[in-house]
């Protein structure tokens, strides 16, 4: 086996060390991934755009700068992908929508800028649910993504293209976004690690907005260590995002090796009640016992209002989306209808033609919930219940350090199985949405396979800004187990 054939099996650190010790060049690493994308993407549809030429040009430049000693950081020379809702200068940025199918972004998102400056190589843009609205990657205007573990199954969503990309090792790391579970649920379905940091931890400048009181971006990769390395590059204050938080950024890799002895893990009883698939529950129980065997203390906690999270979310998120997506008017960018007869016709037809059904449903629900006479009954009420959900977590964190439970009630479901039933699709996210509403950090890491052969992820929830502790816990688990290194045979 030549070096190039095994680059995709390396961690971020492995790739970094390889290019910095001269074992292989950035160009060789980049080509190794580009070749895998060419070979496997037609089957998975995980990328909407592959930036082969600019990736190779970047690789030449970064090889030079590493040789001159100008670039030494942990991301220098490391290829990566981005969910296609991060603006990347000069590259098509579609949000998986016909509305933006020809949109070439004139600027870089904050995180794209950071990764570029750190010497990363952008391989391309990952498929997703249209405007990040969906849990199966089936609302994409560019076709659904297939799960590498079983190509008849969905990869989850909305960051489904990213999850499939990492599962099949078509990039060593990608950035996703999570509004109600869009990093954690696909990570669970695809046997990868993904973290949604605390609301405000990473700037959203240049990240196409869905629901502004919920959206947060985060890394998706095989391991917690890969996520920690990435978070070090992208977290922190940015004056261009007024919700970006002005708090010091720790070194997320510094405490990865800390012991978890004495760690108090809370299990919310509501997450283990009816609705959780028995096989998924069995895999979760086994992992909890592993933590217990390593000295963690397991306690039951309660989140009594968590069953209200999905209804709250389907008021708050659509309300905010109806406002955010009003910018797509057919005038300044995006799709414009043919021969508009007047301005209203231009708006109405451009938007009808440009958006897919799920996006239009949510815009309408949000418009309705915010309209005169309904605001108090829907939006205000939802924001009140949202506080109750947050208070449940605050109470739980008085007794425990972290919360664990399933990321999803089931393993990956079949393509088409829930496509025509929006409510069934919404209920997929019942364990991830409460965390999003509270603005807490949440992550998923692989803990094994159910009897159907499909992966199961553990959801780990920390208190505000406790990402370093969470990454430490997941990293420790990944020292005792090798689930996170497993790749489907046909993509090995």
């Amino acid at each position: 086996m030549s070096q190039a054939d095994s680059i995709h099996t390396l961690s971020l650190k492995g790739i970094h060390d390889g290019v910095h010790t001269g074992k292989f060049s950035v160009m060789e690493a980049t080509d190794a991934y580009l070749d895998r994308i060419e070979r496997f993407n037609p089957e998975l549809n995980a990328y909407i755009t592959v930036t082969r030429e600019s990736a190779q040009a970047q690789a030449v430049d970064i090889d030079n700068r590493i040789r001159k000693g100008e670039l030494t950081g942990a991301m220098a020379g490391v290829p990566y992908a981005l969910k296609d809702l991060f603006c990347s200068e000069g590259v098509r940025t579609t949000c998986a929508s016909n509305m933006l199918s020809n949109f070439i972004s004139p600027y870089d998102a904050h995180v794209a800028e950071k990764l570029k400056a750190a010497g990363g190589v952008l391989l391309g843009k990952n498929n997703m649910d249209e405007f990040a609205m969906g849990s199966s990657n089936e609302t994409s205007a560019f076709g659904n993504v297939r799960n590498p573990w079983d190509t008849t199954k969905v990869p989850g969503g909305s960051s489904g293209g990213g999850a499939a990309t990492i599962a099949a090792r078509l990039a060593p790391m990608t950035l996703g976004t999570d509004t109600g579970g869009s990093i954690r649920q696909p990570a669970s379905f695809c046997n990868i690690t993904g973290i949604k940091p605390t609301y405000g931890r990473i700037s959203r400048y240049g990240m196409i907005a869905f629901a502004s009181s919920l959206d947060q971006c985060g890394p998706m990769a095989p391991s917690a260590e890969d996520c920690a390395i990435t978070l070090n590059v992208i977290a922190g204050l940015d004056s261009r995002d007024s919700t970006s938080v002005d708090l010091p950024v720790p070194d997320y890799t510094a405490n990865l090796n800390d012991s978890i002895e004495g760690l108090r893990i809370g299990l919310p009883k509501e997450f283990f009640a009816e609705g959780l698939d028995v096989q998924v529950g069995a895999v979760i129980d086994r992992a909890i016992k592993q933590f217990q065997a390593k000295g963690a203390i397991i306690k039951e906690v309660t989140l009594p209002n968590s069953h209200l999270a999905v209804p709250v979310y389907y008021v708050v998120a659509p309300a905010e989306c109806s406002s955010n997506l009003s910018r797509f008017d057919g005038v300044r960018f995006g799709h414009r209808c043919e021969n508009p007869k007047d301005l209203l016709d231009l708006y109405e037809r451009s938007r009808w033609e440009g958006f897919g059904d799920e996006v239009k449903r949510r815009i309408m629900i949000g418009t309705y919930a915010l309209s005169a006479g309904y605001y108090d009954a829907y939006y205000l009420k939802a924001q009140q219940v949202r506080r109750l959900i947050k208070q449940d977590f605050e109470a739980a964190f008085k007794d425990v350090d972290v919360i664990m439970g399933p990321s999803c009630p089931t393993t990956a479901f079949g393509i088409g199985a829930k496509k025509d039933d929006p409510i069934a699709m919404y209920l997929e996210d019942l364990y991830t949405i409460p965390v999003s509403l509270a603005g807490l950090p949440g992550m998923t890491f692989p803990i094994g396979f159910a009897t159907d052969g499909l992966p199961v992820g553990m959801q780990l929830v920390g208190n505000y800004f406790e990402e370093a502790r969470m990454l430490n816990i997941a990293h420790q688990y990944q020292q005792w187990t090798d689930w996170h290194t497993q790749v489907p045979a046909q993509f090995a």
Binding site: F333, G334, L343, Y368, K381, R386, L388
Partner: protein, 95 residues
């Protein structure tokens, strides 16, 4: 809670979406289902609960009132559907 086809039509107009008549029934059904899901909230007692506007209870950070953006008109208009002399074109609004 039920929402009528007439209401859906009105909402679509407010949202600037030209929903064709033949799609109205399907949209109405879907929106009714979503509102049914959401209606669980009406049974919750929220007396005295402050609505949660920000997950971290933080205030919007303000910046100095100084120019930070440079002029990128040409760059930004390069992605516009129709422009002329630096202006965005729309159908005639005032006769």
């Amino acid at each position: 809670m039920a929402i009528s086809e007439a209401e859906v039509k009105k909402v679509a107009r407010l949202a600037r979406l030209a929903v064709p008549d033949e799609r109205l029934a399907a949209y109405t059904q879907n929106l009714c289902n979503i509102l049914d899901l959401v209606d669980q909230l009406s049974a919750v007692d929220t007396t005295g609960v402050e609505p949660m506007a920000h997950p971290l209870e933080m205030m919007q950070r303000l910046r100095e009132d100084v120019v930070t953006e440079t002029d990128h008109r040409e760059k930004y208009q390069a992605v516009a559907p129709e422009v002329e002399d630096g202006l965005y074109l729309v159908p005639k609004v005032i006769e």
